[in-house]
Protein backbone atom coordinates (compact mmCIF):
# COMPACT_ATOMS: atom_id res chain seq x y z
CA UNK A 1 0.00 0.00 0.00
CA UNK A 2 1.40 3.38 -0.99
CA UNK A 3 2.65 5.41 1.94
CA UNK A 4 3.13 2.43 4.18
CA UNK A 5 6.33 0.90 2.94
CA UNK A 6 8.95 -0.65 5.12
CA UNK A 7 12.46 -2.03 5.12
CA UNK A 8 12.23 -5.68 6.07
CA UNK A 9 15.92 -6.44 6.32
CA UNK A 10 19.35 -5.28 5.31
CA UNK A 11 22.25 -7.43 4.22
CA UNK A 12 25.93 -6.81 4.01
CA UNK A 13 26.34 -8.56 0.67
CA UNK A 14 29.93 -8.67 -0.59
CA UNK A 15 30.43 -9.03 -4.32
CA UNK A 16 33.61 -10.96 -5.16
CA UNK A 17 32.82 -12.65 -8.49
CA UNK A 18 34.56 -15.71 -7.06
CA UNK A 19 31.38 -16.57 -5.19
CA UNK A 20 29.34 -16.87 -8.37
CA UNK A 21 32.21 -18.68 -10.06
CA UNK A 22 32.44 -21.16 -7.16
CA UNK A 23 28.74 -21.91 -7.42
CA UNK A 24 28.66 -22.68 -11.17
CA UNK A 25 25.23 -21.26 -11.96
CA UNK A 26 24.00 -21.72 -15.51
CA UNK A 27 24.09 -17.96 -16.09
CA UNK A 28 27.86 -17.79 -15.58
CA UNK A 29 30.02 -19.15 -18.40
CA UNK A 30 33.29 -20.13 -16.60
CA UNK A 31 33.23 -23.43 -14.69
CA UNK A 32 34.90 -24.10 -11.35
CA UNK A 33 35.46 -26.93 -8.92
CA UNK A 34 33.82 -24.95 -6.13
CA UNK A 35 35.55 -22.85 -3.51
CA UNK A 36 34.70 -20.11 -0.97
CA UNK A 37 31.97 -22.33 0.52
CA UNK A 38 31.87 -20.51 3.87
CA UNK A 39 30.55 -17.43 2.13
CA UNK A 40 28.37 -19.27 -0.35
CA UNK A 41 26.69 -21.23 2.42
CA UNK A 42 26.19 -17.99 4.33
CA UNK A 43 24.45 -16.55 1.29
CA UNK A 44 22.37 -19.74 1.12
CA UNK A 45 20.82 -18.84 4.49
CA UNK A 46 20.01 -15.37 3.23
CA UNK A 47 18.31 -16.72 0.12
CA UNK A 48 15.91 -18.73 2.26
CA UNK A 49 15.26 -15.76 4.46
CA UNK A 50 14.52 -13.47 1.53
CA UNK A 51 12.12 -15.98 -0.01
CA UNK A 52 10.29 -16.12 3.31
CA UNK A 53 10.14 -12.34 3.62
CA UNK A 54 8.56 -12.02 0.15
CA UNK A 55 9.86 -8.49 -0.50
CA UNK A 56 8.65 -6.33 -3.38
CA UNK A 57 12.15 -5.18 -4.22
CA UNK A 58 15.84 -5.61 -3.43
CA UNK A 59 17.74 -2.31 -3.42
CA UNK A 60 21.50 -2.53 -3.87
CA UNK A 61 24.23 0.09 -3.56
CA UNK A 62 27.37 -0.95 -5.43
CA UNK A 63 30.95 0.37 -5.20
CA UNK A 64 31.57 -0.81 -8.75
CA UNK A 65 29.17 1.59 -10.34
CA UNK A 66 31.22 4.67 -9.65
CA UNK A 67 29.77 8.01 -10.60
CA UNK A 68 31.45 11.39 -10.45
CA UNK A 69 28.50 13.70 -10.82
CA UNK A 70 25.72 12.70 -8.46
CA UNK A 71 24.01 9.58 -7.20
CA UNK A 72 22.51 7.54 -10.01
CA UNK A 73 19.58 5.12 -10.03
CA UNK A 74 18.97 2.41 -12.61
CA UNK A 75 15.92 3.55 -14.54
CA UNK A 76 15.23 1.11 -17.35
CA UNK A 77 12.38 -1.41 -16.82
CA UNK A 78 14.42 -4.38 -17.97
CA UNK A 79 18.19 -4.63 -18.15
CA UNK A 80 19.66 -7.62 -19.84
CA UNK A 81 23.08 -8.52 -21.11
CA UNK A 82 26.43 -10.17 -20.55
CA UNK A 83 28.50 -8.77 -17.71
CA UNK A 84 32.19 -9.62 -17.81
CA UNK A 85 34.23 -8.59 -14.80
CA UNK A 86 37.06 -6.30 -15.98
CA UNK A 87 39.37 -7.56 -13.20
CA UNK A 88 38.46 -11.26 -13.11
CA UNK A 89 37.07 -11.90 -16.61
CA UNK A 90 38.14 -15.54 -16.42
CA UNK A 91 35.79 -16.03 -13.45
CA UNK A 92 32.78 -13.94 -14.27
CA UNK A 93 30.94 -13.81 -17.59
CA UNK A 94 27.39 -13.60 -16.42
CA UNK A 95 24.13 -13.35 -18.38
CA UNK A 96 21.93 -11.07 -16.37
CA UNK A 97 18.28 -10.24 -16.80
CA UNK A 98 16.75 -7.96 -14.21
CA UNK A 99 13.50 -6.10 -13.70
CA UNK A 100 13.98 -2.63 -12.28
CA UNK A 101 11.45 -1.09 -9.91
CA UNK A 102 10.86 2.10 -11.89
CA UNK A 103 8.40 3.68 -9.47
CA UNK A 104 10.83 3.28 -6.61
CA UNK A 105 13.66 4.63 -8.79
CA UNK A 106 11.57 7.74 -9.47
CA UNK A 107 10.78 8.12 -5.78
CA UNK A 108 14.44 7.69 -4.79
CA UNK A 109 15.41 10.32 -7.32
CA UNK A 110 12.80 12.74 -5.93
CA UNK A 111 13.76 12.12 -2.32
CA UNK A 112 17.49 12.32 -2.97
CA UNK A 113 16.93 15.66 -4.70
CA UNK A 114 14.80 16.81 -1.77
CA UNK A 115 17.67 15.82 0.50
CA UNK A 116 19.90 18.27 -1.37
CA UNK A 117 21.79 15.61 -3.29
CA UNK A 118 22.46 15.68 -7.00
CA UNK A 119 20.58 12.68 -8.40
CA UNK A 120 20.28 11.17 -11.87
CA UNK A 121 18.24 8.45 -13.51
CA UNK A 122 20.18 6.11 -15.76
CA UNK A 123 17.87 5.43 -18.65
CA UNK A 124 20.05 3.96 -21.39
CA UNK A 125 18.82 0.40 -22.12
CA UNK A 126 22.27 -0.60 -23.38
CA UNK A 127 23.93 0.29 -20.09
CA UNK A 128 26.17 -2.50 -18.81
CA UNK A 129 25.27 -3.20 -15.20
CA UNK A 130 28.35 -3.47 -13.00
CA UNK A 131 29.44 -6.78 -11.57
CA UNK A 132 29.12 -5.61 -7.95
CA UNK A 133 25.39 -5.08 -8.38
CA UNK A 134 24.99 -8.37 -10.21
CA UNK A 135 27.03 -10.53 -7.84
CA UNK A 136 25.26 -9.27 -4.71
CA UNK A 137 21.85 -9.69 -6.33
CA UNK A 138 22.65 -13.14 -7.67
CA UNK A 139 23.96 -14.34 -4.32
CA UNK A 140 20.84 -13.06 -2.54
CA UNK A 141 18.31 -14.18 -5.12
CA UNK A 142 19.63 -16.28 -8.01
CA UNK A 143 16.08 -16.71 -9.36
CA UNK A 144 15.92 -12.99 -10.19
CA UNK A 145 12.17 -13.14 -9.55
CA UNK A 146 12.11 -10.03 -7.36
CA UNK A 147 12.44 -6.56 -8.93
CA UNK A 148 15.60 -4.67 -8.10
CA UNK A 149 16.92 -1.15 -7.89
CA UNK A 150 20.62 -0.43 -8.37
CA UNK A 151 22.20 2.71 -6.92
CA UNK A 152 25.62 4.02 -7.91
CA UNK A 153 28.46 4.82 -5.53
CA UNK A 154 29.13 8.50 -5.89
CA UNK A 155 32.84 9.22 -5.73
CA UNK A 156 32.60 11.91 -3.03
CA UNK A 157 34.46 9.84 -0.38
CA UNK A 158 37.45 9.75 -2.72
CA UNK A 159 37.21 13.30 -4.01
CA UNK A 160 36.75 15.06 -0.72
CA UNK A 161 37.14 12.98 2.42
CA UNK A 162 35.76 9.88 4.04
CA UNK A 163 33.66 12.01 6.37
CA UNK A 164 32.14 14.13 3.60
CA UNK A 165 31.49 11.01 1.57
CA UNK A 166 29.85 9.13 4.44
CA UNK A 167 27.65 12.14 5.20
CA UNK A 168 26.45 12.09 1.59
CA UNK A 169 25.65 8.40 1.87
CA UNK A 170 23.72 8.98 5.08
CA UNK A 171 21.56 11.51 3.25
CA UNK A 172 21.13 9.04 0.42
CA UNK A 173 20.07 6.37 2.92
CA UNK A 174 17.47 8.65 4.46
CA UNK A 175 16.17 9.50 1.01
CA UNK A 176 15.96 5.81 0.08
CA UNK A 177 14.02 5.00 3.24
CA UNK A 178 11.51 7.79 2.57
CA UNK A 179 11.08 6.61 -1.02
CA UNK A 180 10.42 3.07 0.18
CA UNK A 181 7.94 4.31 2.73
CA UNK A 182 6.10 6.56 0.27
CA UNK A 183 5.84 3.94 -2.46
CA UNK A 184 4.57 1.32 -0.03
CA UNK A 185 7.34 -1.09 -0.87
CA UNK A 186 8.40 -3.98 1.33
CA UNK A 187 12.09 -3.75 0.66
CA UNK A 188 15.29 -5.63 1.34
CA UNK A 189 18.51 -3.62 1.20
CA UNK A 190 21.92 -4.86 0.14
CA UNK A 191 25.20 -3.06 0.84
CA UNK A 192 27.50 -4.58 -1.75
CA UNK A 193 30.89 -4.37 -0.12
CA UNK A 194 33.67 -6.33 1.48
CA UNK A 195 35.18 -5.37 4.82
CA UNK A 196 39.01 -5.17 4.80
CA UNK A 197 40.17 -4.79 1.25
CA UNK A 198 43.92 -5.24 1.02
CA UNK A 199 44.48 -8.25 -1.17
CA UNK A 200 46.97 -10.39 -3.02
CA UNK A 201 47.99 -9.12 -6.43
CA UNK A 202 48.69 -12.61 -7.73
CA UNK A 203 46.26 -15.43 -8.22
CA UNK A 204 46.96 -19.16 -7.88
CA UNK A 205 46.99 -21.13 -11.13
CA UNK A 206 43.74 -22.69 -9.99
CA UNK A 207 41.74 -19.70 -8.67
CA UNK A 208 39.63 -21.96 -6.44
CA UNK A 209 42.64 -23.59 -4.79
CA UNK A 210 41.51 -23.00 -1.22
CA UNK A 211 44.88 -24.02 0.20
CA UNK A 212 46.08 -20.61 -1.02
CA UNK A 213 43.19 -18.61 0.40
CA UNK A 214 43.70 -16.67 3.62
CA UNK A 215 43.47 -13.16 4.97
CA UNK A 216 46.30 -10.94 3.73
CA UNK A 217 47.31 -9.67 7.19
CA UNK A 218 46.38 -10.48 10.74
CA UNK A 219 45.85 -6.78 11.42
CA UNK A 220 43.03 -6.55 8.91
CA UNK A 221 41.56 -9.79 10.25
CA UNK A 222 41.51 -8.31 13.75
CA UNK A 223 39.81 -5.21 12.42
CA UNK A 224 37.18 -7.28 10.63
CA UNK A 225 36.49 -9.25 13.81
CA UNK A 226 36.18 -6.03 15.79
CA UNK A 227 33.59 -4.75 13.32
CA UNK A 228 31.67 -8.01 13.31
CA UNK A 229 31.60 -8.13 17.11
CA UNK A 230 30.09 -4.65 17.14
CA UNK A 231 27.54 -5.65 14.51
CA UNK A 232 26.54 -8.71 16.52
CA UNK A 233 26.19 -6.52 19.59
CA UNK A 234 23.93 -4.04 17.78
CA UNK A 235 26.43 -1.26 18.41
CA UNK A 236 25.79 0.63 15.21
CA UNK A 237 26.71 4.04 16.55
CA UNK A 238 30.06 2.73 17.67
CA UNK A 239 30.64 1.21 14.24
CA UNK A 240 29.88 4.50 12.53
CA UNK A 241 32.31 6.20 14.90
CA UNK A 242 35.24 3.95 14.04
CA UNK A 243 34.41 3.54 10.36
CA UNK A 244 36.91 6.18 9.18
CA UNK A 245 39.74 4.52 11.13
CA UNK A 246 38.70 1.08 9.85
CA UNK A 247 38.78 2.44 6.31
CA UNK A 248 42.23 3.97 6.82
CA UNK A 249 43.74 0.86 8.39
CA UNK A 250 42.31 -1.77 6.08
CA UNK A 251 41.39 0.05 2.85
CA UNK A 252 37.90 -1.17 3.67
CA UNK A 253 35.51 -1.06 0.77
CA UNK A 254 32.87 0.44 3.05
CA UNK A 255 34.56 3.69 2.05
CA UNK A 256 32.48 3.62 -1.12
CA UNK A 257 29.45 4.30 1.04
CA UNK A 258 27.24 1.24 0.68
CA UNK A 259 27.34 0.38 4.38
CA UNK A 260 26.65 3.93 5.60
CA UNK A 261 23.82 4.22 3.07
CA UNK A 262 22.20 1.04 4.36
CA UNK A 263 22.66 1.89 8.03
CA UNK A 264 21.12 5.32 7.52
CA UNK A 265 18.19 3.86 5.58
CA UNK A 266 17.58 1.49 8.50
CA UNK A 267 17.91 4.36 11.01
CA UNK A 268 21.11 2.93 12.48
CA UNK A 269 19.45 -0.16 13.94
CA UNK A 270 20.36 -1.32 17.41
CA UNK A 271 19.12 -4.80 16.63
CA UNK A 272 21.94 -7.36 16.87
CA UNK A 273 23.05 -8.40 13.42
CA UNK A 274 23.31 -12.02 12.43
CA UNK A 275 26.68 -12.89 10.95
CA UNK A 276 25.96 -15.72 8.51
CA UNK A 277 29.57 -16.21 7.57
CA UNK A 278 33.01 -14.67 7.17
CA UNK A 279 35.83 -15.69 4.94
CA UNK A 280 38.44 -14.30 2.67
CA UNK A 281 38.55 -13.85 -1.08
CA UNK A 282 41.99 -13.29 -2.58
CA UNK A 283 43.03 -11.99 0.84
CA UNK A 284 40.16 -9.55 1.49
CA UNK A 285 37.77 -9.93 4.43
CA UNK A 286 34.16 -10.67 3.51
CA UNK A 287 31.16 -11.13 5.73
CA UNK A 288 27.54 -11.92 4.95
CA UNK A 289 25.54 -10.17 7.65
CA UNK A 290 21.82 -9.68 8.19
CA UNK A 291 19.83 -7.06 10.08
CA UNK A 292 16.33 -8.45 10.48
CA UNK A 293 14.13 -5.42 11.01
CA UNK A 294 10.87 -7.27 10.40
CA UNK A 295 11.50 -9.68 13.24
CA UNK A 296 12.72 -6.99 15.60
CA UNK A 297 9.55 -4.98 14.85
CA UNK A 298 7.44 -8.02 15.72
CA UNK A 299 9.43 -8.55 18.92
CA UNK A 300 8.86 -4.91 19.81
CA UNK A 301 5.13 -5.27 19.35
CA UNK A 302 4.87 -4.37 15.71
CA UNK A 303 5.23 -1.04 13.98
Amino acid sequence: MAGNGTILAGFLAPHPPHLVYGENPERNIPRSKGGWEMLRWAYGNCREKIKALKPDVIVVHSPHWQTIVGHHFLHVPKLKGLSVDPIFPHLFQYRYDMDVDMELADACYEEATAEGLLAKKMNNPNFRVDYGTIVSLHMLNPDWDIPVLGISANNSPYFYSTRVGQDEMIKLGRATARAIQKTGRRAVLAASNTLSHFHFDREPDLPEDMSKEHILTNEQYQWDMRLLALMRGGKTEEIMGILPEFIDKTAAEVKAGSFAWMMAAMEFPKVPAKVHGYWTVIGTGNAVVEWDLAQSAVAAGGR
Binding site: V69, L118, S156, E203
Partner: protein, 273 residues
Protein backbone atom coordinates in the same frame (compact mmCIF):
# COMPACT_ATOMS: atom_id res chain seq x y z
CA UNK B 1 65.56 -10.81 -36.17
CA UNK B 2 62.94 -8.41 -37.57
CA UNK B 3 63.51 -4.81 -36.62
CA UNK B 4 60.51 -2.61 -36.08
CA UNK B 5 60.46 0.83 -34.54
CA UNK B 6 58.50 3.28 -32.50
CA UNK B 7 57.69 6.07 -34.90
CA UNK B 8 56.19 8.52 -32.42
CA UNK B 9 54.42 8.78 -29.11
CA UNK B 10 51.36 10.69 -27.94
CA UNK B 11 49.84 11.52 -24.60
CA UNK B 12 46.10 12.10 -24.99
CA UNK B 13 42.97 12.39 -22.85
CA UNK B 14 40.48 9.53 -22.52
CA UNK B 15 37.30 11.25 -21.41
CA UNK B 16 34.31 10.89 -23.72
CA UNK B 17 33.51 14.61 -23.75
CA UNK B 18 35.91 15.13 -26.66
CA UNK B 19 34.17 12.51 -28.76
CA UNK B 20 30.92 14.42 -28.27
CA UNK B 21 32.48 17.86 -28.58
CA UNK B 22 30.45 18.90 -31.60
CA UNK B 23 27.16 17.65 -30.22
CA UNK B 24 27.71 19.23 -26.81
CA UNK B 25 29.25 22.43 -28.11
CA UNK B 26 32.33 22.39 -25.91
CA UNK B 27 35.94 21.28 -25.60
CA UNK B 28 36.47 22.26 -29.23
CA UNK B 29 40.11 23.26 -28.96
CA UNK B 30 41.14 20.05 -27.25
CA UNK B 31 39.11 18.01 -29.69
CA UNK B 32 40.78 19.81 -32.60
CA UNK B 33 44.23 19.18 -31.13
CA UNK B 34 43.26 15.52 -30.75
CA UNK B 35 42.06 15.36 -34.37
CA UNK B 36 45.27 17.04 -35.55
CA UNK B 37 47.33 14.52 -33.60
CA UNK B 38 45.34 11.71 -35.18
CA UNK B 39 45.88 13.13 -38.66
CA UNK B 40 49.64 13.45 -38.07
CA UNK B 41 49.79 9.92 -36.79
CA UNK B 42 47.92 8.65 -39.82
CA UNK B 43 50.39 10.39 -42.13
CA UNK B 44 53.19 8.40 -40.53
CA UNK B 45 51.46 5.22 -41.74
CA UNK B 46 52.02 3.04 -38.67
CA UNK B 47 51.57 -0.71 -38.89
CA UNK B 48 50.14 -0.71 -35.42
CA UNK B 49 49.14 1.48 -32.47
CA UNK B 50 50.12 0.47 -28.95
CA UNK B 51 47.81 1.92 -26.32
CA UNK B 52 48.08 2.18 -22.54
CA UNK B 53 44.83 3.39 -21.05
CA UNK B 54 44.54 4.72 -17.51
CA UNK B 55 40.87 3.76 -17.60
CA UNK B 56 41.54 0.06 -18.13
CA UNK B 57 42.34 -0.81 -14.57
CA UNK B 58 43.79 -4.16 -13.50
CA UNK B 59 44.94 -5.49 -10.15
CA UNK B 60 46.44 -8.90 -10.99
CA UNK B 61 49.39 -7.42 -12.85
CA UNK B 62 49.09 -6.02 -16.36
CA UNK B 63 46.46 -7.26 -18.77
CA UNK B 64 46.91 -7.43 -22.54
CA UNK B 65 44.00 -7.50 -24.94
CA UNK B 66 44.26 -10.38 -27.42
CA UNK B 67 40.73 -10.84 -28.74
CA UNK B 68 41.15 -10.31 -32.51
CA UNK B 69 38.14 -8.04 -32.97
CA UNK B 70 36.41 -5.76 -30.52
CA UNK B 71 33.10 -4.47 -31.71
CA UNK B 72 30.11 -2.92 -30.04
CA UNK B 73 28.50 0.21 -28.71
CA UNK B 74 29.95 1.55 -25.50
CA UNK B 75 27.93 3.23 -22.78
CA UNK B 76 30.08 5.08 -20.25
CA UNK B 77 29.06 4.46 -16.64
CA UNK B 78 29.36 8.15 -15.77
CA UNK B 79 28.68 10.07 -18.92
CA UNK B 80 26.02 7.91 -20.57
CA UNK B 81 23.85 11.01 -21.08
CA UNK B 82 26.18 12.18 -23.86
CA UNK B 83 25.37 9.18 -26.03
CA UNK B 84 26.92 5.87 -27.03
CA UNK B 85 30.31 5.26 -28.56
CA UNK B 86 30.20 2.64 -31.30
CA UNK B 87 33.57 0.99 -31.83
CA UNK B 88 35.24 -1.53 -34.07
CA UNK B 89 38.85 -2.23 -33.13
CA UNK B 90 41.18 -4.71 -34.76
CA UNK B 91 43.49 -6.10 -32.11
CA UNK B 92 47.10 -7.01 -32.88
CA UNK B 93 46.75 -10.27 -30.95
CA UNK B 94 50.18 -11.68 -31.70
CA UNK B 95 51.80 -8.42 -30.69
CA UNK B 96 49.70 -8.40 -27.52
CA UNK B 97 51.02 -11.85 -26.63
CA UNK B 98 54.55 -10.72 -27.36
CA UNK B 99 54.13 -7.60 -25.21
CA UNK B 100 52.99 -9.82 -22.36
CA UNK B 101 55.88 -12.24 -22.89
CA UNK B 102 58.39 -9.37 -22.79
CA UNK B 103 56.77 -7.88 -19.70
CA UNK B 104 56.88 -11.26 -18.00
CA UNK B 105 60.58 -11.56 -18.79
CA UNK B 106 61.00 -8.33 -16.81
CA UNK B 107 59.30 -9.92 -13.79
CA UNK B 108 56.00 -8.12 -14.31
CA UNK B 109 52.82 -10.12 -13.75
CA UNK B 110 50.73 -10.46 -16.88
CA UNK B 111 47.40 -11.77 -18.07
CA UNK B 112 45.98 -12.16 -21.55
CA UNK B 113 42.40 -11.03 -22.08
CA UNK B 114 40.37 -12.71 -24.77
CA UNK B 115 36.74 -12.78 -23.72
CA UNK B 116 33.49 -12.12 -25.53
CA UNK B 117 31.78 -9.16 -23.88
CA UNK B 118 34.86 -7.90 -22.06
CA UNK B 119 34.19 -4.25 -21.13
CA UNK B 120 36.48 -2.11 -23.24
CA UNK B 121 37.29 1.11 -21.41
CA UNK B 122 36.21 4.53 -22.57
CA UNK B 123 39.79 5.81 -22.94
CA UNK B 124 40.83 3.16 -25.42
CA UNK B 125 37.70 3.78 -27.48
CA UNK B 126 38.08 7.57 -27.45
CA UNK B 127 41.73 7.35 -28.50
CA UNK B 128 40.78 5.15 -31.44
CA UNK B 129 38.04 7.52 -32.54
CA UNK B 130 40.64 10.21 -33.06
CA UNK B 131 43.63 8.13 -34.20
CA UNK B 132 42.03 5.24 -35.97
CA UNK B 133 38.42 6.14 -36.80
CA UNK B 134 38.03 3.55 -39.54
CA UNK B 135 39.68 0.89 -37.39
CA UNK B 136 42.06 0.05 -40.24
CA UNK B 137 45.22 -0.09 -38.12
CA UNK B 138 45.58 -2.97 -35.62
CA UNK B 139 46.05 -2.06 -31.98
CA UNK B 140 47.89 -3.53 -29.01
CA UNK B 141 46.26 -2.52 -25.73
CA UNK B 142 47.66 -2.85 -22.21
CA UNK B 143 45.97 -2.09 -18.90
CA UNK B 144 46.99 0.22 -16.08
CA UNK B 145 47.92 -1.94 -13.10
CA UNK B 146 46.71 -0.15 -9.99
CA UNK B 147 49.67 -1.44 -7.97
CA UNK B 148 52.46 -0.78 -10.45
CA UNK B 149 54.87 1.97 -9.51
CA UNK B 150 56.54 4.38 -11.91
CA UNK B 151 59.57 2.14 -12.44
CA UNK B 152 57.36 -0.84 -13.29
CA UNK B 153 55.27 1.28 -15.62
CA UNK B 154 58.42 2.37 -17.43
CA UNK B 155 59.58 -1.23 -17.57
CA UNK B 156 56.25 -2.15 -19.10
CA UNK B 157 56.85 0.50 -21.75
CA UNK B 158 60.30 -0.93 -22.47
CA UNK B 159 58.76 -4.37 -22.84
CA UNK B 160 56.20 -2.94 -25.26
CA UNK B 161 58.97 -1.37 -27.37
CA UNK B 162 60.98 -4.61 -27.42
CA UNK B 163 57.92 -6.53 -28.58
CA UNK B 164 57.26 -3.98 -31.32
CA UNK B 165 60.88 -4.09 -32.54
CA UNK B 166 61.07 -7.86 -32.54
CA UNK B 167 57.78 -8.07 -34.41
CA UNK B 168 59.23 -5.92 -37.19
CA UNK B 169 56.39 -3.42 -36.88
CA UNK B 170 56.39 0.35 -37.05
CA UNK B 171 54.29 1.54 -34.16
CA UNK B 172 52.86 4.69 -32.68
CA UNK B 173 52.48 4.68 -28.91
CA UNK B 174 49.46 6.27 -27.28
CA UNK B 175 49.38 6.94 -23.55
CA UNK B 176 45.76 7.67 -22.83
CA UNK B 177 45.50 9.59 -19.57
CA UNK B 178 44.30 12.78 -17.99
CA UNK B 179 46.56 15.08 -16.00
CA UNK B 180 45.15 16.72 -12.85
CA UNK B 181 42.08 14.79 -11.81
CA UNK B 182 39.92 17.08 -9.73
CA UNK B 183 36.51 16.88 -11.37
CA UNK B 184 33.61 19.19 -10.84
CA UNK B 185 31.13 17.04 -8.98
CA UNK B 186 28.10 18.96 -10.21
CA UNK B 187 26.57 19.55 -13.61
CA UNK B 188 28.23 22.32 -15.59
CA UNK B 189 27.75 23.81 -19.02
CA UNK B 190 30.67 23.11 -21.36
CA UNK B 191 31.22 26.87 -21.60
CA UNK B 192 31.73 27.04 -17.82
CA UNK B 193 34.49 24.47 -17.81
CA UNK B 194 37.89 25.38 -16.37
CA UNK B 195 40.67 23.64 -14.47
CA UNK B 196 38.92 23.30 -11.12
CA UNK B 197 41.89 24.39 -9.02
CA UNK B 198 44.44 27.07 -9.94
CA UNK B 199 47.23 25.05 -8.32
CA UNK B 200 46.34 22.06 -10.47
CA UNK B 201 46.60 24.31 -13.50
CA UNK B 202 50.06 25.47 -12.40
CA UNK B 203 51.18 21.89 -11.90
CA UNK B 204 49.87 20.77 -15.26
CA UNK B 205 51.66 23.62 -17.00
CA UNK B 206 54.89 22.91 -15.11
CA UNK B 207 54.74 19.28 -16.22
CA UNK B 208 54.04 20.28 -19.82
CA UNK B 209 56.87 22.85 -19.77
CA UNK B 210 59.30 20.19 -18.55
CA UNK B 211 58.15 17.79 -21.24
CA UNK B 212 58.38 20.54 -23.84
CA UNK B 213 62.01 21.15 -22.96
CA UNK B 214 62.87 17.47 -23.06
CA UNK B 215 63.19 17.16 -19.28
CA UNK B 216 61.16 13.98 -19.22
CA UNK B 217 63.20 12.42 -16.43
CA UNK B 218 62.18 15.34 -14.26
CA UNK B 219 58.56 14.72 -15.16
CA UNK B 220 58.89 11.12 -14.01
CA UNK B 221 60.64 12.21 -10.82
CA UNK B 222 57.86 14.74 -10.16
CA UNK B 223 55.01 12.38 -11.01
CA UNK B 224 54.46 11.13 -7.48
CA UNK B 225 54.27 14.68 -6.13
CA UNK B 226 52.17 15.80 -9.07
CA UNK B 227 49.75 12.96 -8.42
CA UNK B 228 49.53 13.66 -4.70
CA UNK B 229 48.92 17.37 -5.21
CA UNK B 230 46.49 17.22 -8.12
CA UNK B 231 44.80 13.82 -7.87
CA UNK B 232 46.43 13.09 -11.21
CA UNK B 233 44.81 10.38 -13.27
CA UNK B 234 46.09 7.00 -11.98
CA UNK B 235 49.20 8.70 -10.63
CA UNK B 236 50.13 9.85 -14.15
CA UNK B 237 51.80 6.46 -14.59
CA UNK B 238 50.89 6.48 -18.26
CA UNK B 239 53.66 9.02 -18.82
CA UNK B 240 56.26 6.63 -17.38
CA UNK B 241 54.97 3.92 -19.69
CA UNK B 242 55.27 6.28 -22.67
CA UNK B 243 58.84 7.14 -21.73
CA UNK B 244 59.64 3.44 -21.46
CA UNK B 245 58.29 2.89 -24.96
CA UNK B 246 60.13 5.85 -26.48
CA UNK B 247 63.40 5.13 -24.69
CA UNK B 248 64.57 8.66 -25.35
CA UNK B 249 64.33 10.71 -22.16
CA UNK B 250 65.58 13.92 -23.73
CA UNK B 251 63.14 14.08 -26.61
CA UNK B 252 61.17 17.32 -26.60
CA UNK B 253 57.42 17.18 -26.50
CA UNK B 254 55.19 19.25 -28.71
CA UNK B 255 52.12 20.31 -26.75
CA UNK B 256 49.32 20.41 -29.31
CA UNK B 257 46.60 21.29 -26.86
CA UNK B 258 45.84 21.78 -23.19
CA UNK B 259 42.61 22.53 -21.39
CA UNK B 260 39.96 21.43 -18.94
CA UNK B 261 37.50 18.58 -19.12
CA UNK B 262 34.95 18.87 -16.34
CA UNK B 263 37.53 20.48 -14.08
CA UNK B 264 40.35 18.05 -14.81
CA UNK B 265 43.48 19.01 -16.74
CA UNK B 266 44.03 17.36 -20.10
CA UNK B 267 46.60 17.70 -22.82
CA UNK B 268 47.37 16.42 -26.28
CA UNK B 269 51.13 15.97 -26.44
CA UNK B 270 53.26 14.67 -29.28
CA UNK B 271 56.70 13.14 -29.22
CA UNK B 272 57.54 13.13 -32.90
CA UNK B 273 60.30 11.03 -34.43
Amino acid sequence: MASGSIIAGYLVPGLPHLAFSEKLGGWKELAKAYSDAGARAKKAKPDVFVVYSSQWISVLGHSFQTKPTLQGSHVDENWYEFGELPYSIKIASTLGEKMAEKAKSKQLATKLVNFEGFPIDTGTIVSQRFFNPDGAVPVGVVSCNVYANYADSQKLGEATAEAVRESGLNAIAIACTGMSGRYFTKDIKPSEDRISDAKDDEWNRRILDLAGSGKNKQVIESSSDFAAQTMADMGFKAFSWLMGVLGDPDRKANVLGYGPIWGTGDAVVEYAA
